[in-house]
Amino acid sequence: MTNEILRVENVSKAFAGVKALDQVSLTLQEGEILCLVGENGSGKSTMIKIISGVYHPDQGDIIINGHSYKQLTPIESMREGVQVIYQDFSLFPNLSVAENLVINEQLSSGRRLVNWKETYKTAERGLEEIHVSIPLDAMVSELSTADRQLIAVTKAILAEARIIIMDEPTTALTQKEIQSLFEVINNLKAKGISTIFVSHKLNEVTEIADRTVIFRNGRKVMDQDAKNLDIKTMEFYMTGHELDLDNSQLAQPDQQAAPLLEVEKLGLRGKFKDVSFQLRPGEVLGITGLLGSGRTELALALFGETPADSGTIRVEGREVTIRSIQDAMRNRIGYVPEDRILEGLFLQQTISDNIIVRIIDQMVNKIHLIRAGASKKVSDEWIGRLEVKTPSGELPAKSLSGGNQQRLVLAKWLASDPRILILNSPTVGVDVGSKASIHELIRNLASQGMGILLISDDIPELMQTCNRLILMRRGRTFGVFDREDITEEQLNQEMVADRVFSI
């Protein structure tokens, strides 16, 4: 016999005419793990924000612990024991790790004074609970994305929530951390704490869910015990059609062609050392490794943001110096960053402006004025090609869902027609359907002769798109594998074998 802790009844919510949620009802039992899945923009985050009091529904009721609300405030929601880990982690960059961890508890307890000793003790306890160690007095702004995600999770656990909602908590975690997180969730479950878990990684969903709810276009289309659902079925309900995810038709690059990019003994003090590899036209080269293995730093060095201090780089046979982003672009190297909000997008500007920002210099007429028609044409073309879900390119980029924002970042770089494209975790937070289409896009780009460096933690993704794989550990290339020579299991083992965490 279980107790219902949360019930959402016939909730609807529209944004400027877009129905984000349409008459959706949900229930959550004590100690239950409920997974929400659905395509990008299907209304998952909106539902979460309504439960947490950030948005007010247009109609419907929310019943928590037997208390019925037409709408909640964030603090009421917290008082009812709801804690949310948002996609952007909701951390304060200017505050220390310890404080970020404890701040919610501090607030909901209604205490007016801060006890720092207690704060540090509590924070330490929290981190121990999920078996990670991060310096407590570091500023969050100094941390990597993965560390931030871990802190967001720990924070919710510490707030002694009765309902923990996680909006894609695993996007930046590698296998190891994900397993610890699942352990934590199961421990919470044992204590009677309920979890709502949103993820686009359906294998995670099958692993953790008690019950699964599927959204499509703002409606609930499926609500089932998890054991009755397999991945194929979920995909079907999410998209409304069968997905063909057979990706075996990987094109092989021409092994005789001269390499596009040759990197020799590249190094940057304290970051990575002696990295050498070649990238041929038409090749997708995966780079993977644990957090802190130096993959992102390597990418940033090739992109000129933090230039390497030793070694050589050759592009199409010519030795080049890359000291700035402009140098990289002159050599037609593009980089799709991991943090789309901060590094990738201009949220207040239009979608169309975001797409043409890279190529604005080519959008001018003879007297150097921007041709409005041309820019609209280009942006509409890319909105179409990447299936960015929006009624108009003239809307600001912040009106897009997380997954669509990610496509927008891709569109921006693809529009500039790079020769070499570095993709840093391009499908994080992207739903399965879109992910498949992004993978196809990557393969298409490669087949047109582009060289692609793909940084990813997602092993199936790497196996489906890459011709070769580089495994990095502690700033060095640990191994280079042809895809044919390695299986998912082997790769998994290789990665987990290294126990180094970030920083």
């Binding site: 950030v54 960059p93 919610n104 501090q106 801060v114 720092w116 702004s141 100094e142």
Partner: protein
Amino acid sequence: MLKKIVKSSEFVTFTIIVLLSLIIGIINPAFFSLATVFDVLRASIVVSIMAFGLLLVIIAGGIDISFVAFAALASYGTHMFLLSRGYNGGIFLYYAIACVIGLGAGLLSGLIVTRFNLPIFDVSLAMMTMWYGFIRFFIGSTKNFKLPEGAVGYYSRFLVTVRDPFVGEAGLHFSILYVLIIGVLIHCLLKYTTLGRGIFAMGGNREVAIRSGFNIKGTLLVVFGILGVLSAFAGVTHSFLSRHFEPTLFMTQNLDVIAAVILGGASVTGGKGSVLGTFMGVILIQLINRAMVLTGITVEWQQLMIGLVLAFFISIPAIRDLINKRASRAVEVPEEI
């Protein structure tokens, strides 16, 4: 621990102060005297008190330029009111009434900002114009030199005095204690109260602060209330020290106070700043101004020198940041422009 201190922005400001003092002292050894210390401290009293109030606003992510008008309104308004009632007693009543006026003015700004969700800078621009006009149209437009009995001689209430053979008597004015007390209070507010952490949280990421359930509006109201009270307090103290009340008090000095707070390590975009740093920022600006007379730079070139020295010293923290960033590439936060 030591490494942390050395890395802090307060340490940088401190180093700059030491450096500048050495330069002035080498050019004119008369600078190295207790009298100098007392003078610089005295000149920093009033600015520091205002700067502490402003610090809260800047940490919360806004920039206010109207606090100088609060000071003028509260001090001059109180004075003209009490003068008209024939009051001739002690100074406590002055402080009490002025602080109430300051609180009112601060809260009014705060209410407008929060109720209509307006940028702090914009509102403060309007309020500054409005208050200085209000004071001079409705209260009075001339300086007044008539002090109440209780304030006569206020200027020379020293904690300690030293006799300097050349420059006469020099004393440490007791109102430096105000700075100390207010400084400690504000520091504790920022560091040890939920409210104070809310101010930092708000400046660090406003949206997240709202989501986390911080009472943003309430916090802003408190911040503006404190700004109003501290400005009023500074205004009255200044008037007693300088022995007159004026309607255009501090009118052109708001940018200098803002500069001091930022020079003291507070971030223009919010979320960062400290009481100690702010105090050192105030001292630094004082020193730069005083260096002109003591080093004997001729009057025509003083303004240029002040600008050059300021430009030099404000560049040091920025250059340090550049070097730090090179050394360890942390995750980027939005750059200040």
